[in-house]
Symmetry: C2
Subunit: 150 residues, 2 copies
Amino acid sequence: MIEDLGRAMIEALEEDIREKFRRSGYTLTSQRRAVLDALEEAGGHPSTEDVYLIVKQKNPRVALGTVYQALSVLEEIGVITSKHWAESPTRYDLNVRPHLDIRCTRCSQVSEVPGVELGNLESQIRQNTPYEVQSTTLVVEGLCPNCQKG
Amino acid sequence: MIEDLGRAMIEALEEDIREKFRRSGYTLTSQRRAVLDALEEAGGHPSTEDVYLIVKQKNPRVALGTVYQALSVLEEIGVITSKHWAESPTRYDLNVRPHLDIRCTRCSQVSEVPGVELGNLESQIRQNTPYEVQSTTLVVEGLCPNCQKG
DNA sequence: TGCAAAACAGGAACGGTTATTGATCGAGGA
DNA sequence: TCCTCGATCAATAACCGTTCCTGTTTTGCA
């Protein structure tokens, strides 16, 4: 039952991804597929380097530049989201659902912050600026429980 | 009247800065002073390079590395805040009051978004994470009115 | 199956940032 | 006032994440 639900969700996500590629005109190549798989496998919020290492395990011929380019395409068509932290490489996340992440300034671990209501923040912003808003990201940093001890 | 108010605010800010240096143990050197002045003069949200160029006009001997280090100290003691945008160098801002900025993804211009109520977002976050929250920054990007035409 | 366009691999180059090193400054004590 | 010692600075090399470039391979399409 739960497994079926999981599979259904993955199916829906799959279809969504194919649709986004179709609309954009980009092709869903095996390398881009591998980058997506690596993002899923990595879980958390992998850096480009992390993704590259996972992809490389399965296909050692894939170049780092290709991973950069694939991530950029995936972000452009709205499949993934990038986040830019201080003193840390860019990290990526599948666009499964809107959520809030916090990063530890000491060990760089990223965790999700549950139960925060962003509410109508984005619509408020749209109302108060003449800009055409493309993205709003909340960047939260702090010390994780482990690093608080040290 | 208004000028007096402005001067009073600057005085208060000055005292706050001196206090923060005192508490931290760092010294408020002429170079750090110059970096602060440059931040004020630049207005907007200058990059390290912008600050460096302004500082250099008055004191050509100051090195870029010194500006980096000064900005890092100023941020550490809470006088300024850094913001990290995609594909763009770090930009800095004096901690005058909490506010929200938006950056144009085409021309990199940064403007303030008025009238957005962040409300109890930070306290919500603190309640929902075991992390010791150090900073929360809302990063908003879009197209400025000028670039929408192009 | 053949052709044009897109994507890729590999590696060099770039740009923002940090690290290093020796010189200089400046607060506090003799 | 002069000295001392730690903090800060200037100058520059090194670092690292990212982008760019070139020739090759793959893909979509006729």
